[in-house]
């Protein structure tokens, strides 16, 4: 039979001789031992100190009564333990992340199932209830008979999340370690989904999630997050860690983020970044954010116009490139001036010996770094561009703008 934490809370506990011991007020899980087993039962005895029963001291569980297989004297006195997850205090009414549904939800009740092991009964946590049945149970428990509640809830739509898809949120880093809470499951989600989840949480909780993600994932998530939140998070971070995360970001995204920070913080973070990355970002920061220069990514692939497709392919293969930069290749003439772009799709279809100069796409579009962002939007719209090369006043390419930069700016303006 499906058991509910709400129904079991307040059950009377009897020892092996059948003597009344007290009422069960809390279930604890010890994640270090078993992720879903109720390891300890808190039994309160009015004005006496509460006791705890271990999972192997439980003989039978049913709503209203819990039987122990030992006498009262064998039970230990209760002492708070940071490594225990309390079902009522830490789980019920709190927010959790549903990693399957990719959202933040609030727990109404916790569903348990009986599991018989040698001579005793264990309770295992199966799922959390975030829907109406749990709400009804919480509201009516102890007011109307349990049978009536069960009947009532059977007609309601169920919304439950299996325990393995539940990701707890704990703002205290020490407690998080003790409870073995990781956000590994979040790293498997798309960064944009993680960002959405984080918007629903409080500042401390956001901080804790970012702290537990690896730098690459953290960078991807920060890039998707609302600028106001990103600044809050980074300002509170240790500059060294912030620099590590920013290194993983595209230079334009890193520059956008740094531009929003206070001068002191952004200087501190830049100090911690390795020279090359820091220089790149500093250069970008010098541009007005509302110009082509402020939008561009200075990492791009450029090749001479005399090179053949095969040479380009070999060259590109030879380096560790971020695939985001590979929408197109920028072509330089002999004087190292901008001479055009070639889309990757064209390279794919070209024969091995074709020269870049012959693959160039018409029209030969580029934009000056100081051009207003509106001009950039119009070019993208008019020519259905995916990328656009940014040049300095000598016509040398200094970066590219990709369509995703344009889209995110336009969405922000809306």
């Amino acid at each position: 039979m499906e058991l509910y934490a709400t129904e079991l809370m307040g059950s009377q506990a009897f020892d092996v001789q059948g003597n009344f011991v007290g009422r069960v007020r809390e279930f604890f899980i010890e994640p270090a031992e078993a992720s879903n087993r109720v390891s300890h039962y808190l039994i309160s005895r009015g004005r006496f100190q509460p006791l705890v029963a271990r999972h192997d001291q439980i003989a039978a569980v049913e709503p209203g009564t819990i039987k122990l297989n030992v006498s009262e004297r064998a039970l230990a006195l209760y002492e708070p333990n940071e490594g225990w997850l309390a079902v009522r205090k830490d789980l019920m009414d709190q927010q959790i992340i549903d990693t399957l549904g990719r959202k933040v939800v609030r727990v109404n009740d916790v569903d348990l199932v009986e599991y018989r092991s040698n001579g005793n009964v264990e309770l295992r946590l199966t799922q959390v209830d975030v829907g109406l049945p749990g709400a009804v149970r919480r509201l009516l428990q102890g007011v109307v008979p349990a049978a009536v509640i069960r009947k009532l809830q059977s007609g309601l739509p169920h919304r439950t999340i299996r325990w393995e898809f539940v990701n707890l949120i704990e703002a205290d880093p020490l407690r998080r370690v003790k409870l073995r809470i990781t956000h590994e499951k979040l790293a498997d989600l798309h960064p944009a989904d993680v960002a959405d989840i984080m918007e629903d949480l409080s500042a401390r909780e956001r901080q804790s999630i970012i702290a537990s993600l690896d730098e690459e994932t953290a960078a991807a998530v920060l890039a998707e997050l609302d600028a106001r939140l990103t600044t809050q998070i980074v300002e509170k971070m240790d500059p060294e860690r912030a620099a590590d995360i920013l290194e993983e970001m595209a230079p334009d995204a890193a520059a956008d983020l740094l531009g929003e920070l206070s001068k002191e913080t952004s200087d501190e973070v830049l100090e911690e970044m390795p020279g090359r990355e820091a220089k790149e970002v500093r250069e970008l920061l010098a541009f007005d954010p509302a110009t082509a220069g402020g939008m561009m990514n200075p990492d791009f692939v450029f090749v001479g116009e005399e090179s053949t497709r095969e040479e380009v392919r070999e060259w590109v293969r030879g380096r560790q490139l971020n695939l985001d930069q590979l929408d197109s290749v920028v072509i330089l003439d002999n004087a190292a001036h901008f001479s055009g772009t070639v889309a990757i799709s064209r390279l794919l279809l070209a024969s091995a010996s074709e020269r870049m100069a012959d693959l160039k796409m018409e029209p030969l579009l580029s934009v000056r770094a100081d051009a207003d962002e509106k001009e950039v939007f119009e070019l993208f719209d008019k020519y259905n561009l995916r990328t656009l090369t940014v040049v300095d006043k000598d016509k040398s390419p200094i970066g590219t703008i990709t369509v995703d930069d344009v889209v995110s700016r336009l969405v922000k303006k809306r």
Binding site: R106, V130, A135, S202, A203, R206, A286
Partner: protein
């Protein structure tokens, strides 16, 4: 010399500017910081001056002249103190008031707070649409046209707008309260007397005076506003770093709210009280009476103010209520969700508007009973909410170093107890009055 060194030099020149320039720049920086945060406090406090509020203030001025003006200063303090606690909670915890009540006090208390909130807010929404009807009557528009149009307007505005757009519209609406200042000036009041009465308390002991005083407090400090205020700061993602700005927002809001109340009382005191028209029951009576006394423009601006206030409150109340209930009980909420994703939210929102506007359209509906119910409801709900706030804001595990200081706690508890005593008194006397037929 490359671009960077040039710009660095330029920066040097700029930062080496004169003291005055520096000060102006500092001021401008502070202003930008404030403008980024401002909104929730200003909007919430101004929505307090809703249809019910304006009626009460007009009555206060008509019946007692300038004699109640002194209460505005203590009321500003009370408003600021209670709102500041919510602003602080929102900014520090990043959670709404209903979220915190749920997490710290469990499901059942939350449920009852939410159900009471729904009923009380529904009555308040009826009062707002009644205000729309009353204001449009002054402009000779039938309520059977005005109210449905207003309801539709409100419904569309919120469902089609983003949070930012809606906030901008609301901030504009705050600006329209200036009409009351115009009405007051047109009424040619005795400014000197008004100023003196604001600073020097005059206490009468007759029960009508006390009741009016209680009514003033009751309509100015409404329980739902705490939920809206806190949610506003959470939604704007205002963090602890911007706490000072958030506090300034609340302070500006509280003061501007009371300034408007001041002008409404002064306006009716200078006209209705002086010419002996002391028994008005509604804001529209005041507007109508103003036309012969202080000219049509005084009356029209007064009525326009009422319309603005009613529409404003009618837009915020249903939305805020639906939000608070869904968040507290764990349903999806927010206008950025589709209907299928957040059906309960949309149903609550729609029911509040449709029922709220619908009741006003029923011919001969006992609107005065509903208005009394909304006041009594506010009175009963307020103590509960304020006590929850005080318990939460003193929790060190939630608030850290931002828990109330001793002085603040003393002021807050005194305010809370005074408010509770006054509103309970109001609730009882309203109930007592409601057994007798109206006028």
């Amino acid at each position: 010399m490359n671009w960077q060194t040039i710009s660095a030099k330029f920066e040097n020149v700029r930062s080496g500017g004169t003291d005055l320039q520096k000060r102006i720049r500092g001021l401008r920086r502070r202003l930008t910081l404030l403008l980024a945060v401002i909104g929730p406090g200003l909007i919430t406090s101004n929505v307090d001056n809703d249809a019910g509020g304006i009626s009460t203030y007009s009555q206060a001025g008509a019946q007692y002249g300038y004699a109640l003006l002194w209460s505005l200063i203590p009321m500003t303090i009370a408003l600021y103190v209670t709102e500041e606690m919510c602003a602080r909670m929102g900014v520090i915890t990043g959670k709404g008031l209903s979220d915190l009540i749920r997490e710290e006090f469990g499901f059942r208390p939350t449920f009852f707070v939410m159900v009471t909130g729904f009923l009380v807010d529904l009555a308040n929404v009826v009062a707002e649409f009644a205000g729309v009807a009353a204001a449009m009557e002054i402009f000779h528009v039938s309520k059977y046209i005005a109210v449905p149009v207003a309801a539709l307007l409100v419904w569309v505005l919120v469902l089609k707008g983003t949070y930012r757009q809606v906030e901008v519209i609301f901030l504009f609406a705050c600006g329209f309260y200036v009409t009351y200042i115009i009405s007051a000036i047109l009424a040619k009041p005795d400014w000197l007397l008004a100023a003196r009465m604001t600073v020097i308390p005059t206490i009468h002991s007759d029960s009508g005076y006390l009741l009016m005083l209680t009514g003033l407090v009751g309509t100015t400090i409404a329980p739902w506003q705490f939920f809206y205020l806190q949610a506003g700061f959470v939604e704007k993602k205002v963090g602890p770093r911007q706490y000072r700005q958030a506090r300034a927002d609340v302070l500006i809001g509280s003061i501007s709210c009371m300034v408007i109340v001041f002008f409404i009382i002064v306006c009716t005191a200078a006209t209705l009280y002086t010419s002996g028209l002391r028994n008005i029951t509604e804001a529209k009576d005041a507007a109508r009476a103003l036309i012969p006394l202080a000219g049509p423009w005084a009356g029209y601006t007064f009525a326009f103010g009422l319309l603005n206030a009613s529409l404003f409150a009618a837009s915020i109340l249903p939305l805020s209520t639906a939000h608070v209930i869904c968040e507290g009980l764990g349903f999806e909420a927010g206008v950025d969700h589709k209907f299928e994703e957040a059906p309960i939210f949309y149903w609550l929102y729609t029911v509040l508007i449709v029922v709220g506007a619908g009741v006003v359209l029923i011919p001969n509906a006992p609107l005065w009973k509903i208005l009394i119910f909304s006041q009594v409801g506010n009175g009963i709900w307020l103590p509960v909410v304020v006590i929850f706030i005080l318990l939460l804001v003193n929790r060190r595990d939630l608030m850290g170093e931002y828990v109330n200081t001793l002085t603040f706690n003393v002021v807050a508890w005194v305010t809370a107890i005074a408010m509770i005593v006054l509103t309970v008194f109001l609730a009882y006397s309203s109930l007592f009055q409601s057994t007798a037929p109206p006028h």
